[in-house]
C-alpha cells in the first residue's frame, strides 16, 4: 500500500494561506506539534474530484528559505526534507497575495527552484482587481513554470481548479533542484516578473491607508487602543455571565442526577465531590477564555494586532523588549501556554527567552476564579467615587500589578541573565481585512478543545488526588478532617514556611494542588471547608465566600491575592517553557525568581496591611 500523497501549503505570512487551507480541508484538521519545537503542525484531508485522498499540511508562513524564526525554520526544513516528524512532500501548493506580488514571488521562486511539482494559488485576486491591478496569469505561469490559479479563498473561489491541479501535481515526478541563486538576484527577478505580469499603479490599498490615518494617529490611535483593550476585558466579564450560569446549572443537575443514581459510599463521593465538583470548577472558565481568544483572533485576522504592537513598541523597548513581544503577552491574559507558544515568532532568542520568563506574570484566566472569590468575600463593596466600586478597583489593580511586575522583571532580566545586543523592531504591517468567520471559528474550536483536554486530564487527576488525600484517613471524633488527613499533614509542614507571610492552614492546603493549576485553589478551599463541615447542615448551607469571611483577616486575604499575582503555579506552563527552551535550566530559573518575588511581595503586603491596622 502506498502512502497518501502529501502536499505542503507554503507562502508568505498574510498571503491567506490558512484561509485557503481551511477551505480546502474543512474542519477535519489534526493539530499536533513537530518534535522538539512547539510549532504547530496542522494537517487535513482533501478528496480530489475523482475520490483520491490527499493529505494537506499547512506550513508556517515564511519570507524566504533563509529562515530567521523557529516558525520559518520548520517551513524550510520540511521542504528540504530535513524536518523530523514529517516526510518529504510529494507536491507544493504555493499561495501568493495578488496585491503584493513583488514580495511574495521571491519566496515562491526560491521554493519552485527546489523542483517539486508545484501549483500556485494567486489569492485575493478580488482585492487586486478592486485596487485596479490586472494580473496576466498566463504570463505569470510561463515565468514561474507552474500552473497559476486565481483564488479568493474566503469566498471559496477557485477551489475546484486548485484541487484539479493538485491531482495532476501529485502524480508528477519531482525534478532536480536548480542550483541556488544569490538572494539579491532572486529579489530582482521577483520584482521584474511582478512588474511584467501586473498592470496598474496602486501602491497600497486605499482603505488600509485611510484606516491607518486613525489607528496609527499619535492621539486617536492610542485612545482607540485603550478603548479596545477596555472593551475586551469588559466583555470577558460581562458576556460570560450567562454561559457560566448555564455551565453551573448543568453541573448542579449532573451532581443531583449522580447522587440519585449511585448508591451512597466511596464511589458516589468520588464522582460527586471529586470529579463533578472539581472539573466543573474549572470548566466554568471556558466562556471567559473563549471570549478573550475571540477578541485576540479577531484583532489578529483584521490586521489590527500588528498596529497594536507598533503603538506599544516604544513602551516595550524601555523594558528591553520590542513590539514583537506584545502579541504573546496579550495572549497570556487568556493563558500563558498559547502566549509562550506565540513567542516563536520573535526572532531574537534573548528577547524571546525574556518574554517566556515574564509571560506567567500576565493575569491569566485561571487566576480569575481565585481573585473573584477572595475579592467578593473579603473586600468591602464600597463606592470609591465616580461610580467606581472598590472591588472592581482591586481587580484592576491586580491586573496592573502583573503588567508592571512583568515589565520591571524584563528590565532587570535584560540587564543581567538575558543580556544581549539590542535589535530593531522590523515587522510587516499587513493590509486590513474583514475577519474571516470560518477561520476564527476553527481557531476558537481548537483552543476550546485544548482547554477541555487539559481540564479532563491534569486537572481531573489533581482534583481527584486532592479529594482522596484530604478525605483519608478519616479523622476521629474531636479532630478536624482538614488537619488529620494526609493532605492536612503535608499542609501543616508547608504552613511553617508560609506562616510568616500571613497564610493559614487552609491556604497551605490550597497551595499544593494550585501548583498544578491555579484555579484548583478554589476547589481545594471548598473541599477543605466541606470535609470539615461533614454533615453539619448549617455549615453546608453557607457559601464558600461566607465561610472565608469569618476565618480570614484582611491582611491575609490581600497577601493571598498578591501571592497569586506572582507565583508560578501551573505545571503546564512549566512544561511548555521546558519544551520551548530545550531544557530545565530556564523553567527552574522561572520557578525560582517568581516564587521569590511572590513570597517577598505577599509578605510585604501582609506586614504593611497589618501595621496599617486593616
Amino acid at each position: 500500500m502506498t502512502a497518501i500523497p502529501l502536499v505542503a501549503v507554503v507562502g508568505n505570512p498574510n498571503a491567506g494561506k490558512s484561509a485557503l487551507f481551511n477551505m480546502l480541508t474543512g474542519a477535519r484538521q489534526k493539530v499536533g506539534n513537530y518534535p522538539g519545537v512547539t510549532v504547530e503542525r496542522k494537517s487535513g484531508r482533501l478528496s480530489l474530484a475523482d475520490g483520491r485522498p490527499v493529505e494537506l499540511v499547512d506550513l508556517p508562513g515564511a519570507y524566504s528559505l533563509d529562515a530567521s524564526s523557529p516558525d520559518e525554520q520548520v517551513t524550510r526544513d520540511v521542504v528540504l526534507g530535513r524536518q523530523e516528524g514529517e516526510r518529504l512532500p510529494d507536491a507544493l501548493l504555493i499561495v501568493l497575495d495578488a496585491t503584493n506580488l513583488d514580495n511574495h514571488l521571491r519566496f515562491a521562486l526560491q521554493v519552485i527552484g527546489l523542483g517539486f511539482p508545484t501549483v500556485v494559488a494567486l489569492n485575493m485576486v478580488d482585492l487586486a482587481r478592486r485596487d485596479g491591478l490586472t494580473i496576466d496569469t498566463a504570463r505569470l505561469a510561463a515565468e514561474l513554470g507552474a500552473p497559476v490559479i486565481e483564488t479568493v479563498a474566503v469566498r471559496k473561489r477557485g477551489l475546484e481548479a486548485v484541487k484539479e491541479a493538485l491531482g495532476a501535481a501529485v502524480v508528477t515526478e519531482r525534478q532536480a533542484a536548480r542550483p541556488e541563486e544569490d538572494f539579491t538576484g532572486v529579489q530582482r527577478r521577483a520584482r521584474a516578473i511582478a512588474a511584467a505580469a501586473t498592470t496598474g499603479q496602486t501602491l497600497t490599498r486605499r482603505s488600509t491607508l485611510a484606516i491607518d490615518k486613525v489607528v496609527l494617529h499619535p492621539v486617536f490611535g492610542l485612545l482607540l487602543f485603550i478603548a479596545l483593550m477596555f472593551l475586551m476585558f469588559q466583555a470577558v466579564f460581562a458576556w460570560s455571565e450567562a454561559p457560566i450560569g448555564w455551565i453551573e446549572g448543568g453541573q448542579e443537575w449532573l451532581a443531583v442526577a449522580a447522587t440519585n443514581a449511585i448508591p451512597e459510599g466511596f464511589f458516589r463521593d468520588l464522582i460527586v465531590q471529586g470529579i463533578i465538583a472539581g472539573v466543573g470548577a474549572v470548566i466554568v472558565f471556558l466562556p471567559q477564555i473563549l471570549i478573550l481568544f475571540l477578541f485576540i483572533l479577531m484583532l489578529e485576522s483584521t490586521g489590527y494586532m500588528v498596529r497594536a504592537a507598533f503603538l506599544m513598541d516604544k513602551v516595550m523597548a524601555k523594558a528591553g523588549l520590542s513590539g514583537h513581544a506584545f502579541i504573546p503577552l496579550l495572549s497570556s491574559f487568556a493563558c500563558a501556554i498559547p502566549g509562550i507558544m506565540a513567542t516563536r515568532t520573535i526572532e531574537d532568542p534573548r528577547q524571546r527567552l525574556t518574554t517566556i520568563l515574564i509571560a506567567p506574570l500576565m493575569t491569566c484566566s485561571a487566576r480569575l476564579p481565585v481573585y473573584t472569590l477572595i475579592i467578593g468575600a473579603l473586600i468591602p463593596n464600597n463606592n470609591v467615587g465616580l461610580g467606581i466600586g472598590l472591588q472592581g478597583l482591586v481587580m484592576f489593580g491586580l491586573y496592573i500589578l502583573g503588567i508592571v511586575g512583568a515589565l520591571v522583571a524584563s528590565f532587570f532580566l535584560r540587564k543581567t541573565v538575558t543580556r544581549g545586543e539590542a535589535r530593531g523592531f522590523i515587522m510587516e504591517m499587513p493590509k486590513y481585512q474583514a475577519p474571516h468567520v470560518r477561520t476564527i471559528l476553527i481557531g476558537l474550536w481548537q483552543r476550546a478543545w485544548a482547554f477541555l483536554k487539559r481540564a479532563g486530564g491534569i486537572i481531573l487527576a489533581v482534583t481527584v488526588a486532592l479529594w482522596l488525600l484530604s478525605s483519608y484517613p478519616v479523622a476521629p471524633e474531636g479532630q478536624k478532617q482538614s488537619e488529620y488527613s494526609i493532605a492536612g499533614r503535608i499542609a501543616s509542614g508547608l504552613e511553617v514556611v508560609v506562616r510568616p507571610i500571613g497564610f493559614n492552614h487552609e491556604i497551605s492546603l490550597a497551595l499544593i494542588p494550585a501548583m498544578a493549576a491555579r484555579e484548583v485553589a478554589v476547589a481545594a478551599l471548598a473541599t477543605s471547608y466541606s470535609v470539615d463541615a461533614g454533615d453539619d447542615e448549617d455549615a453546608l448551607q453557607q457559601s464558600l465566600g461566607q465561610r472565608l469571611q469569618g476565618r480570614w483577616s484582611l491582611p491575609t486575604a490581600l497577601a493571598f491575592l498578591i501571592w497569586f499575582v506572582f507565583a508560578p503555579q501551573c505545571l503546564s506552563t512549566i512544561a511548555v517553557a521546558r519544551r520551548e527552551t530545550n531544557g530545565w535550566k530556564w523553567p527552574l530559573f522561572m520557578l525560582g525568581y517568581l516564587f521569590a518575588l511572590a513570597y517577598v511581595a505577599a509578605g510585604a503586603t501582609y506586614w504593611i496591611a497589618t501595621a496599617a491596622g486593616l
Binding site: 519570507y63 524566504s64 533563509d66 530567521s68 496585491t99 503584493n100 506580488l101 513583488d102 514580495n103 521571491r106 538572494f183 539579491t184 529579489q187 530582482r188 520584482r191 501602491l203 497600497t204 488600509t208 491607508l209 491607518d212 496609527l216 494617529h217 499619535p218 492621539v219 490611535g221 492610542l222 500588528v306 504592537a309 507598533f310 503603538l311 513598541d313 516604544k314 513602551v315 523597548a317 513590539g323 526572532e347 531574537d348 545586543e421 535589535r423 530593531g424 523592531f425 522590523i426 515587522m427 510587516e428 504591517m429 499587513p430 493590509k431
Partner: protein, 82 residues
C-alpha cells in the same frame, strides 16, 4: 534630496539608493532583505509612533512595514518629484 530614511519627510515618495548593510546587525539585515529592502525600490514614510516619534511605519514596494528610527538611519533614500 538625498537623506537617510529617518529624515525623509512624511508622504514624500522616494527611492532607496543604498543600504549600509554592515552597520546593521545580521538579523536586522536579514529581516530587511526578506521584506524586500533593496536599491531601486520605491519607499515612503507614512506614520510615526507616539513616544519619541518612533517607530516609523513606511511603505516599501507594495508593502507596509514598521521599522525603528535606529535601523532607518542605515537606509539612504532619494526623494523623487517635488
Amino acid at each position: 534630496m538625498r537623506v537617510s530614511l529617518d529624515q525623509l519627510p512624511f508622504h514624500r515618495p522616494a527611492t532607496v539608493t543604498g543600504i549600509a548593510w554592515e552597520s546593521l546587525s545580521e538579523s536586522d539585515a536579514k529581516r530587511l532583505r526578506n521584506l524586500g529592502f533593496d536599491e531601486g525600490v520605491a519607499i515612503e514614510a507614512l506614520h510615526a509612533g507616539l513616544f519619541g516619534r518612533d517607530p516609523l511605519a513606511i511603505r516599501i514596494g507594495r508593502m507596509q512595514v514598521a521599522i525603528r528610527r535606529a535601523q532607518a538611519q542605515s537606509i539612504m533614500v532619494e526623494a523623487t518629484g517635488g
